[in-house]
Amino acid sequence: MSGTFLGMPAFPEAARKAVGDSTLRANLRHATHTIRDKRARAVAELDDWAALREAGKLIKDRTLRHLDTYLLQLEESVTAAGGTVHWAADAAEANRIVTELVRATGQTEVVKVKSMATQEIGLNEHLEAEGIAAYETDLAELIVQLGEDRPSHILVPAIHRNRGEIRDIFREKMGSWGRPAPEGLSDTPAELAEAARLHLREKFLRAKVGISGANFMVAETGTLVVVESEGNGRMCLTLPETLISVVGIEKVVPTWRDLEVFLQTLPRSSTAERMNPYTSTWTGTTDGDGPSAFHLVLLDNGRTDALADEVGRQALRCIRCSACLNVCPVYERAGGHAYGSVYPGPIGAILTPQLRGTASGIDASLPYASSLCGACYEVCPVAIDIPEVLVHLRERVAGEGGKGHRLERAAIEASTWVLDHPGVLAAGERLASRTRALHPRRLPGPGARQWSDHRDLPELPAEPFRDWWRKNRT
């Protein structure tokens, strides 16, 4: 994944900063609560929501089971429609393919449609190192790019920014990337949008190469689908002469009929819209209409590893709607950056460790970044049981016995032994109860400190329940 997240501290440490930042907390709370309430209303409108959710899950599962077949079918139909298909095993290969394709056009700049896959592979940074400028054209991505920032949400990458901050970024940075912000720019949404429109229009009209991802790829016809709200994506998909799409292999669906399900569940889950404002579809190339050259780069980058894991593979059903982020109480307080990946929130906590492995501190801490409250599973439009996968990945991390886990295993083994010997357990409980007058309300030492920094310990009872029972009922 993207190098920009390298060297991130583990989740708890990164989250501590966010929890202490009251502006960020207020921005996130306001944004996530607004969108989660809207989503709940949009979903409640459909009588058949449960059936759509189940259908989405089954379609994705069946497709993943036969992924090889559908990918080959897709390759065949894209090729037949005039496109060229490239296969990339990892980020490095995908970046190299895209760079070569851009080079072949003789261009040194490209416009980009908002895309998670290209962020995952760190394409912009790679292109920049190769002397090619990549311009983000989604409004929120533009804010992130101009601010030399990182995205903190899948759908609303600048969710951590407020209007004042955005105005300052536009004023200070637009000039060095192209058309500067208008004089006296205010922080009203209309003026900010107009400034972005003028800045971007210049780029659209000049661009010869567009780079995108895709929300879906329809195997039967070789059609790619991008779902967006602004229309900026459509500019990039239609104006340039060459279009390069980098798409994860799990984005394939067999037929248009299958697509129909997701075009209902995705907008309602993500933006709480009944129908999506701009749905662009293209099939290879068409003479005199749109790009004359189309390249599809199919990206693995850890996906087949996830596919090999019977429990973990359900993460590949994800349609990146962000509903799980918007309901997550941990995301709401920790913010997106703490997850150290372009995929934040509950889906990031299960996807990132599968795509990147669990060797680094941040990746090994992600499966624990959840209270297992289950709110994510409840809203997920493809019914990914995120808590189940989290526990499964915890098993993997604990089994690897990395830093801190050896001690934890010893403690867990000791607790199991005591709990499996009720005589010992009862003796311990009794001892604790008898000496309760001596117990402090706060505990010293690491581990215990985490608990008693914020909470008092309960006063222990005079006797454990089993003693009460013996005295009163036997």
Binding site: I412, S415, E463
Partner: protein, 238 residues
């Protein structure tokens, strides 16, 4: 009817009053209660932290302890959820316990068919539905219906009731800052109701929220639902 009480390890050691209240309540409703002494912990903390192998002996012990009982009643939504949702993955014998375990409010409403248990508790109460009871067991309106039938009790809505309190087992220790921030918001919401009692059906969540309340000397105490339902005019629960 004869049932086995699965008191849970947290209640046994830290909140025996919840166990006593459950016994008193069930007996008042004409149920004979057994307490199989071989019981211990269901294994949830080990399981949720990623130690499946270490969970197994506890699963086996729990299954053995409740052998032969058609109804096993527990005053803990998360322990009931552990048995119902995760025991089947430990083999058929363990899976056979799953449908026989009832969370207290399920047992009262679904098996005994009562919502008015004859309780008296003259206080302003707000209810926090713990996540595992809410989402894994689907307890729905059961706890609220039981509380509404309590004489003298004024039930006030908890804003953001369905949001997690931030306990999450080892989550509270592994991610202390986020956990405390979640708990603080839960408490702010609970205090805004003007209630005297924050009621829940899972003492592990109340251990966390109650501990934060005590630290702040807040005019609100956390109390398990069983203790409210056990309270009567003749024998008020304190």
């Amino acid at each position: 009817m004869r049932v086995a009480l699965f008191v849970t390890c947290v209640n046994d050691a830290v909140f025996p009053s919840t166990g006593v209240a459950t016994v008193r309540l069930l007996e008042r409703l004409g149920v004979t209660v057994d307490f199989p002494a071989a019981q211990s912990c269901c294994g949830q903390p080990q399981f949720n932290t990623g130690y499946r192998a270490q969970t197994e002996p506890l699963v086996r012990r729990t299954v053995r302890a409740f052998e032969g009982y058609e109804h096993v009643v527990t005053p803990s939504g998360s322990c009931a959820a552990m048995v119902r949702h995760h025991y089947p993955s430990f083999g058929t014998e363990a899976g056979a316990l799953a449908p026989r375990v009832y969370e207290l409010t399920e047992f009262l409403v679904d098996v005994l068919g009562v919502t008015d248990v004859g309780a008296y508790f003259p206080h302003r109460v707000t209810y926090h539905p713990s996540c595992h009871g809410l989402r894994l067991l689907g307890l729905g309106e059961r706890p609220r219906r039981l509380l509404e039938a309590v004489k003298g009790l004024e039930l006030v809505e908890l804003p953001g009731a369905e949001e997690c309190c931030g306990f999450g087992g080892t989550f509270a220790v592994k991610n202390p800052d986020v956990s405390a921030a979640m708990g603080a918001d839960k408490i702010t919401n609970a205090l805004s109701t003007g209630a005297e009692v924050l009621c829940g059906a899972d003492n592990s969540c109340l251990l966390h929220v109650g501990g934060m309340l005590r630290r702040q000397d807040a005019p609100l105490r956390a109390l398990h639902l069983a203790e409210i339902l056990a309270s009567t005019e003749e024998e008020p629960w304190t």
